[in-house]
């Protein structure tokens, strides 16, 4: 289990390569990468991601631990950035490895649902239309009920 919370960019390709390398028991690797998307009908100058140092690492570790308990995972990685980002920047990634594909897919999907609504990050969009905090979506909260 690897958890990293950082301001710096990460190299998605290199992380994927390293995560998948040297495995012989693993049959399936799933990765997810979240990218800063411009809001509809506005020009995004930047997105600022605030987080709660200390609690963030703890919450991510708890979420990863839940995934490990629920599925047969060989490994699990979460990287999440904070600070100012521009459109197209890679915000975060998760990766899961398992014997069979169903576990890797379900665990990655689960990690993303919990990261969305249970990890202490907040996003502020600074656009040509003004500044606003991204609101949590009801659908994100509802997604947790799937698990």
């Amino acid at each position: 289990m690897h958890i990293r919370v950082q301001q710096n960019a990460f190299d998605y390709g290199e992380e994927c390569a390293r995560f998948a390398a040297g495995r012989t028991d693993t049959g399936a690797v799933v990765t997810f990468c979240g990218i800063v998307r411009a809001p509809e009908n506005a020009v995004l100058y930047r997105m600022e991601i605030e987080h709660y140092p200390g609690m963030t690492e703890r919450a991510l570790a708890q979420i990863a631990q839940s995934a490990i308990q629920r599925w047969d995972l060989h490994d699990c990685l979460i990287i999440h950035r904070y600070g100012p980002l521009t459109a197209g920047a890679q915000i975060m990634m998760v990766a899961t490895a398992s014997r069979h594909r169903a576990d890797a897919f379900a665990a990655a999907d689960f990690l993303m649902d919990y990261l969305k609504s249970r990890a202490p990050f907040w996003k502020k969009e600074i656009t040509d239309q003004g500044t606003n905090w991204v609101a949590a979506k009801d659908t994100d909260e509802a997604a947790l009920k799937r698990w």
Binding site: M55, H80, A119, P120, F121, A135, A136
Partner: protein, 83 residues
């Protein structure tokens, strides 16, 4: 009891600072919020809609009924938007 109180995102912006030390006898999170609200308008405004406020006590998510006994750090923030 002395508590370190943290605010994040628009709660931090409305209250005007990211953290403060508070001396309180509040027994629960709900009681603490009532005390904070009574302080000044900006607190009353920040805590006007509790459906939009989440709370962590010592870095664990909790709710308004959570007791504060033994707590050191209480954080208030809007619903999280990670990922």
């Amino acid at each position: 009891m002395n508590l370190e109180i943290l605010y994040f995102a628009w709660l931090r912006e409305r209250i005007g600072h990211p953290k403060e030390s508070v001396e309180t006898d509040a027994e629960t999170v709900g009681a603490l919020i009532r005390e904070l609200r009574a302080r000044e308008d900006r607190y009353a405004l920040a805590f006007s809609d509790l459906d939009a406020v989440r709370v962590a006590v010592d870095q664990e998510l909790c709710d308004l009924d959570t007791p504060l006994e033994g707590a050191r750090e209480v954080a208030f923030f809007p619903p999280m938007t990670g990922g």
